[in-house]
């Protein structure tokens, strides 16, 4: 099929370049209610995504037009010819600043083999199930429902410059709801765990942690009106908060006016009282569904430091945006590593604070730096005692508080992220419900 598509593209003489991404996915899925399977699903699909490029000039200006289309495996040659012809026609009216296509690499570093490659998908579905339900042993709470997905995904990218890269990856996902009931109403919490390798302890421990958090939420009181005491973010909210530094460092964001960050800039300001951010991207992070030898263009990936001690050292740039900003390409790497901070988790909690463990949806606006989220569970420490609280919200602006934030010494890994398990912020607005 790939050769068929490539030949049809070559028959369109107006096309000056192309890339084709083939992905073949086999998957098994189980859907549980409590501990019983409610439905099982399987799938086997193949997809082709084709981008055609047309170089054109107007006066002294050089442009690269492009259009992307899907080719379905059930398409006839006539259909493929039609959709590629339509894409080529559209590309002729797309006037983007010129950029070169990715050149072939001498070699690609291989991903370490996942344990999932050693047995069949149904075998691993059973192992994942056992790991997930291992700690579902409590009387007052447990897993209400759970969905387990395991994909075996083969990706093959070729382009007109000679790029030819392929890779086999595994993508696991467990989405589960934990519930707990004490004296009041039963409560629930949501969690989704992504992984590329089998680690039973990661899954079992996460279920246990979520059950413990659910138990706390079941006895939580209403969040009081706390005004502006320090807020400690953990878990998914800490990751979302720190991911702001990733998004703002992208060359694409700078080119498209979303980010104003400049190389060499002290991102957190000139007078920083707290910890400075150091951020590295590692395409080979262990047990991450984002780990990959090459990016969407077939560009070979390697670990790279983006921010060092609060200073932007490199933009995260694929071939196109690196050319636009006249910087070295890093390729698109999605694994994010943030260095640990100066204080232990225990030290961060030394004064009165609100530690938020779960939000409905912690939202960060990459344009303005505004962040907010409704509290599903937090612990309020008034300087003497700690109580679980729920309801209300926290909000603030990263740009206004990043000159004094504190990162924990302890690290936490969650799929494509490894970084401080806790981030302490000052000047955050807490809207209580009491």
């Amino acid at each position: 099929m790939l050769k068929r598509i490539e030949q049809i593209i070559k028959d369109h003489k107006e096309i000056s370049g192309y890339s084709i991404c083939e992905s073949r996915i086999e998957a098994n899925e189980l859907f549980f209610i409590k501990k019983n399977v409610d439905m099982d699903r399987a799938k086997k699909v193949v997809h082709y995504k084709v981008t055609v490029f047309l170089d054109h000039e107007e006066g002294d200006n050089k442009y690269k037009g492009s259009a992307t289309t899907n080719i379905e495996p059930t398409m006839s040659d006539r259909e493929i010819t039609r959709v590629i012809g339509e894409a080529a026609f559209a590309a002729g009216f797309v006037k983007n600043q010129y950029y070169p296509l990715t050149k072939p690499a001498l070699a690609y570093q291989s991903l370490p083999e996942s344990k999932f490659a050693k047995e069949s998908l149904p075998y691993w579905m059973n192992e994942i199930t056992k790991a997930v339900y291992k700690n579902d042993i409590y009387e007052k709470g447990g897993i209400n429902s759970c969905e387990i997905f395991l994909n075996k995904k083969y990706t093959h990218i070729i382009n007109s410059e000679g790029v030819d890269a392929d890779e086999l990856q595994y993508e696991g996902m467990v989405e589960f709801i934990t519930t707990w009931k004490e004296e009041g109403e039963e409560i629930e919490l949501y969690r989704c765990v992504n992984f590329s390798d089998f680690d039973a302890d990661v899954l079992s421990d996460e279920v246990k942690t979520m059950l413990e958090i659910a138990k706390e939420k079941a006895i939580a009181g209403k969040t009081p009106d706390l005004k502006k005491i320090p807020v400690i973010l953990t878990r998914e909210a800490a990751i979302e908060f720190l991911r702001y530094f990733y998004t703002k460092s992208k060359a694409e964001a700078v080119y498209n006016k979303i980010s104003t960050w400049r190389l060499g800039e002290n991102l957190q300001g000139e007078e920083v009282k707290g910890d400075l951010i150091t951020m590295t991207l590692d395409p080979f992070l262990n047990n991450s569904t984002a780990s990959c030898s090459f990016d969407e263009d077939g560009f070979p990936l390697a670990a790279v430091k983006i921010i060092e001690q609060g200073v932007l050292k490199k933009y995260i740039a694929n071939t196109r945006y690196a050319h636009y900003l006249e910087v070295e390409p890093t390729g698109t790497i999605r694994n994010l590593l943030i260095n640990s901070g100066s204080k232990s988790y225990h030290e961060l909690k030394g004064e009165a604070h609100l530690e938020a463990a779960a939000f409905s949806d912690f939202s960060v606006d990459v344009y303005s730096g505004d962040f907010c989220g409704e509290i599903r569970l937090a612990w309020y420490f008034d300087g003497e005692k700690t109580i679980p609280v729920t309801g209300g919200s926290v909000s603030g602006n990263i740009n206004e508080l990043q000159n004094e934030l504190y990162l924990s010494k302890e690290l936490r890994k969650d799929n494509d992220f490894e970084g401080p398990m806790a981030v302490k912020l000052l000047n955050v607005t807490i809207a209580g419900v009491e």
Binding site: E29, L30, I33, K35, N36, D38, M39, D40, R41, A42, K43, K44, V45, A67, T68, T69, N70, E72, T74, A87, F89, A90, F93, V94, N96, P122, N144, E175, T179, E185, E186, I187, E188, Y190, C192, D225, N256, K257, I258, T260, S360, D361, S363, D365, Y367, S368, G369, D370, C372, E374, R376, G391, G392, S393, S395, T429, I430, A431, G432, V433
Partner: protein
């Protein structure tokens, strides 16, 4: 004109019937949903122009069987006369083989009525017949008028997505087919001064063709003006306020507060507090809320859902009383209720769940002017940014793009942003005290279940006055 269904799906029908016949030798129930969704996504900004297939483009099938105990599904996108036997063998090998260590829920076999129906949506201008040149040119003119508004506009983007959806559903008793066009569009601006960067957008949507783009014309300056005004917006002082929700926010509340809360697969899992409140007062007496693919003509209007159930119009809340939930086929089977045509999939590759379609509050008798005049200190909330459901505990989180300050019954011109609205659903809905007449629905975004399974929905309603907590 009417939408034309995919030739591929029509030509595949004999093969699909053969597949169903072959599988029916082994299984008591077999059905196949076929989907062929095409469409283009255009994006024109100051810096980039992009043309690609829409994110939901797909062509493939999902077969559902009763495996003797419950239901199993297999998704595939390759089929031919020659490979049919191989496909049947693969389905038999892969489905219904859950490990003996794991217990399973049982479901009765679906009883279907014999039915054959077709529906083809109306549209004025078929986007497939408009050249890329014309579309890019039209969007570029709109972009340029946004960029020209002020130097404070750092970037201005115009997005247009054209969807052409074709689906067939075939079982031993049913043969259904439908095709229709949808369109959605965004005007999106980034504004920047020395200290702030803000975004503002306006969205457009409809079950229609390229005529949607006409609605974008002449609006770019308004979007830029509002984006610039946001640069001076202040954060909300936390507290409880009288607010007026614009239709987009009314829709967001309908969607997050009670839409997700009455998805009946959540009843099966004991994940929805709504199950215990059927027949009880959950909102003020002037509140009437609907959901249904047959309840309105918008982004989620269709003849049949992704399980072959015909669309309906469900009255969820009538005069403040919670009356009905919305249901997929298997949840209805489990609960002994009637399916409402809300079984929807993100794609043929995904499971069907109970999902919303067009969700909205009915209009009332008040005017917007009367509503503003009735507020001593509060805000008019406008522009939907995001929301998150909590069907189990009825918490709600809605984020609006902005709030327009109202003091002594008049808009002051001051803005707050961002606007985070949180609260307990029945408290919020019971506080609805005024409702305007006209109802507006929109659906340019997507609805997820948890953090995945995205489908197109619409929501809306009139302007409503309520008491909410802002943070």
């Amino acid at each position: 004109m009417k939408a034309v269904i995919s030739d591929f799906l029509i030509n595949s029908k004999p093969l699909i019937r053969k597949l169903i016949d072959m599988l029916s030798d082994s299984y008591l129930y077999v059905s196949v949903l076929g989907s062929d969704t095409r469409g283009k996504s255009y994006r024109v900004s100051k810096t980039v122009t992009e043309v690609k297939d829409i994110a939901f483009a797909e062509r493939g099938f999902v077969v559902r069987i009763h495996n003797g105990v419950n239901y199993s599904e297999y998704s595939f996108n390759q089929i031919s006369e020659e490979s049919l036997g191989e496909l049947v063998d693969e389905i038999k090998v892969k489905l219904g083989k859950v490990s003996k260590d794991i217990s399973v829920n049982s479901y009765q076999v679906i009883e279907e009525e014999t039915i054959k129906k077709s529906a083809f949506g109306e549209l004025e201008v078929n986007p497939e017949e408009i050249s890329a040149l014309e579309i890019i040119k039209g969007l570029t003119e709109i972009r340029d008028s946004g960029l020209a508004y002020s130097d404070l506009v750092a970037n201005f983007e115009v997005d247009y997505n054209a969807y052409h959806i074709s689906k067939i559903y075939i079982s031993n008793k049913k043969e259904l087919e439908q095709s229709y066009h949808l369109g959605d569009a965004y005007l999106f601006c980034i504004t920047r001064n020395e200290t702030n960067t803000k975004k503002y957008f306006r969205s457009f949507s409809g079950k229609m063709g390229y005529e949607l783009v006409n609605e974008l014309k002449g609006v770019a300056a308004e979007v830029a003006e509002q984006g610039i005004a946001l640069l001076e917006a202040k954060p909300a002082e936390p507290g409880e306020y009288d607010v007026i929700c614009a239709p987009e926010i009314t829709g967001l509340i309908a969607h997050e507060a009670f839409g997700h809360g009455v998805e009946m697969d959540m009843f099966v899992k004991n994940r929805a507090m709504g199950a215990e409140y059927i027949g009880q007062q959950v909102a003020s007496e002037i509140s009437v809320m609907h959901d249904g693919a047959a309840a309105a003509e918008q982004m989620a209007s269709y003849l049949f859902d992704d399980e072959g159930t015909l669309a309906t119009d469900t009255t969820v809340i009538r005069k403040g009383i919670l009356e009905n939930g919305i249901s997929d086929l298997l949840s209805a089977l489990k609960l002994g209720t009637t399916p409402t045509g809300n079984g929807r999939r993100q794609s043929f590759e995904r499971k069907a769940y109970a999902r919303m379609t067009n969700t909205f509050f009915e209009g009332g008798k008040d005017s917007l002017e009367e509503m503003i005049a009735s507020i001593k200190k509060g805000y008019l909330l406008d522009g939907c940014y995001s929301g998150m459901e909590d069907p189990k505990n009825w918490g709600i989180q809605c984020i609006a793009l902005l709030g327009k300050e109202i003091v002594d019954g008049k808009l002051t011109g001051n803005l707050i942003s961002p606007v985070v609205m949180t609260g307990f659903v029945p408290e919020l809905l019971k506080s609805i005290s005024m409702v305007s007449e006209a109802v507006y629905l929109s659906g340019a975004g997507y609805c997820g279940k948890g953090h995945k399974e995205y489908v197109k929905v619409s929501d809306g309603g009139p302007y409503i006055k309520a008491k909410v907590r802002l943070g």
